[in-house]
Symmetry: C2
Subunit: 236 residues, 2 copies
Amino acid sequence: MTRQRHFVKRPVRLCLLQGRMCLVRKTGKQRWDGCAMVVRIFASPTDYTLDASRFSKDDVLIGVDYGAYYALKSGIDLDLVLGDFDSTSSEETTFVKAHARVIKNFSTEKDSTDSALAVKEALRYDADEIIIYGGIGNRFDHSFANMMLLKLGPITCVTDSAEMFMLDPGIYDLHNDFPYISFFAIEPVKRLSLRGFKFDLEAYDLDVDDPLCISNQGAGRVQFDRGLLLVIKSQD
Amino acid sequence: MTRQRHFVKRPVRLCLLQGRMCLVRKTGKQRWDGCAMVVRIFASPTDYTLDASRFSKDDVLIGVDYGAYYALKSGIDLDLVLGDFDSTSSEETTFVKAHARVIKNFSTEKDSTDSALAVKEALRYDADEIIIYGGIGNRFDHSFANMMLLKLGPITCVTDSAEMFMLDPGIYDLHNDFPYISFFAIEPVKRLSLRGFKFDLEAYDLDVDDPLCISNQGAGRVQFDRGLLLVIKSQD
């Protein structure tokens, strides 16, 4: 599979798109025309607050399985619903089918996860930002699989208790309203610098097995030359 | 850090050691003298049942932070307690200090996690098996860091709702009492075969981004030629 790292190709100012998460790319060409294409995916577990006032009318809204029911029940008008509906009751499935504009129904026996299928759909829009609400929590295997999806584009997993995304080499100013912010190398990270956080770091080579950068605190500037960096903000 | 994959070097029959998890290596020299060295680490979150009747008097028992309090309070006599005690109240810390044989107290500001320090201690015993009770759940960053620890030896994370371990190339018969069993390539897995499970597979190359083997069911034989395979059994 060809990896697309949109953070590098098309830097975006996520600070304007979502209140709590602010990511401003400081280097590279700023492509910012004031009209970002955002795809929002509502998944399980539904431990996230649905604040439709933050959504733009141009956003593409996709519901996945029980997440679709949760969003539709909350009055959010979904552009697309997909899933195998193994997490909804028959009444909930009926409700979803009655209220969704478009449904793509998949078999429970498939070669992918519902979240992966939703991200595949989202990537077709060539979006500036893809937000997966949910996706972290409950079964670790699902959380882990969703984490791997973050490689595919400018994707952030968001719940009320955590946020998770990946960064390509560059310089970033990260805002953070969570008590903790952890960094892991998904591919070996070269010359990682953290400045402004509780625990700073200068030109450190972070290997994939190195837990050094777990449970940092605060916000600040992140810079590195090579590799792939996973960022997880979380509550205690 | 030198990676030690004890599953390859010293195959063990975990079925004799722990009721729910049974792993019998079918190839290679069977080193089985009837006296396995087991280290049990009690960590957070404490969503696991403590069944001391399964423990041998020769087991080494290590408590980590709140997990130490939980074990001691449950009447388990710990050989070693370690942690930074940022997850216990002052009363709980006092109780731990009054009941532990040996305590290693670490600063909250350290270059490792409590779990990693416990595994480092456990590896000093050259154990046949290391079981981390807890370690999965709550914060995803901690679960992810604990997952990476599984590379270091014959280590299994166990809770009441999940089990997680890694396998080196070989042939294994896996028992499974959980509804789901998922497989992920931590390093690209070559010629993976799954036989006897709900969804079987023959000589498949599983890449690190491939979610194909999530949410399998049942038990059976696992075989592969190269790579590193993460196995996660879980409830819904």
